[in-house]
Symmetry: C2
Subunit: 199 residues, 2 copies
């Protein structure tokens, strides 16, 4: 067998490699990698996170760059802009029907399908490990974490509804499984023993 100590290297490399391979679009799609990421992000982030700043911190880039990417999506009529009532500076974006249609051709599709072929237990285990890695890494680098509201410390199911302490308001149930920029992990769920798989 192979020297144990080098396994983490191989895993890390493979992870990065798969990530890159999954996004290689190569002319057969009409969007750039950044545009795909943006479209995907707007499809999966909650209302208060689907903003230029939200995307900028997700993509770890500047707001200026994010703004450009979004503008290009807007020009293609894949997303629409809505100005917030709360804060008149802020805007948020939603996918148009065209945007959703485009998303169906996401080059990530292949990876998604391949993941879909895994059996459920394996998939769950994989997800659990992967999200542990994601938050541990985010912590080390101190990057914003980006998890779903359901896993967040700010989240408490109050009665029938769900309350987000961070925005100080009730969450639409549709938003619970969505990405949130002010996500704060509920402290590492430890590996041994099952995690209680909240969602």
């Amino acid at each position: 067998m192979i020297d144990e100590t080098q396994t983490p290297d191989r895993i890390a490399e493979l992870l990065v490699h798969v990530g890159r391979a999954a996004r290689s679009e190569h002319a057969r799609t009409e969007l750039t990698a950044a545009q795909w990421t943006c479209l995907r992000f707007f499809a999966r982030a909650n209302g208060s996170t689907r903003t230029p700043s939200g995307f900028a911190s997700f993509q770890v880039t500047t707001r200026g760059t994010a703004s450009q990417i979004i503008k290009s999506l807007e020009r293609m009529e894949l997303v629409t802009r809505t100005r917030s009532d709360r804060d008149r500076r802020s805007v948020s974006f939603d996918l148009t029907d065209q945007g959703r249609a485009m998303l169906a051709q996401d080059p990530l599709r292949d990876l998604i399908d391949v993941i879909g072929d895994l059996d459920t237990a394996e998939r769950d285990a994989f997800l659990a490990t992967l999200s542990r890695l994601a938050s541990a890494l985010a912590m080390r680098r101190d990057l914003p974490a980006f998890g779903t509201c359901g896993d967040c410390t700010h989240f408490s199911p109050s009665g029938g509804m769900a309350y987000c302490a961070c925005m100080a308001e009730e969450l639409a149930t549709a938003d619970i499984p969505k990405l949130c920029a002010s996500y704060t992990p509920t402290l590492e769920p430890r590996p041994q023993g099952d995690r209680d798989d909240a969602d």
Copy 2:
């Protein structure tokens, strides 16, 4: 609880996200993402694969681009060029001491460490799933697969030595755990009870 069918989406996204986050170098390192990948690749690929073409297909880019990246590493004296005796067109690269020193500051280090913190069982399971995903994805896209000689169909341990049918020569033992461009998977090594519908 979330609609099961969307889990693969989340996993795929998370995977890509972690991949990107792991490579974000952001000024605090002096190499670009592509340069890091190249350096890493030359550190971990076997002799006949450490070439411009090898890197090009690994990185899924053109040979021209690969050539530029390599040239920049050469200029920084992180790698050295050796012309092959067998085929006078071909060149291969090795890391210099400086290159190895640089590699110690690989921004991937954080991810590697975080992976190293997993317990062995979890890590193995993760690796197994991940490599299954990698080859399934490569097959779908038909990209070259890039595995280690030890897992390759061309490989047979003949007596004390190891023989590679594809290059028609003995392998140095040091090369067995290394990446090879002409890797052909021996059909999925299943961890335990195999599923037969895989591909």
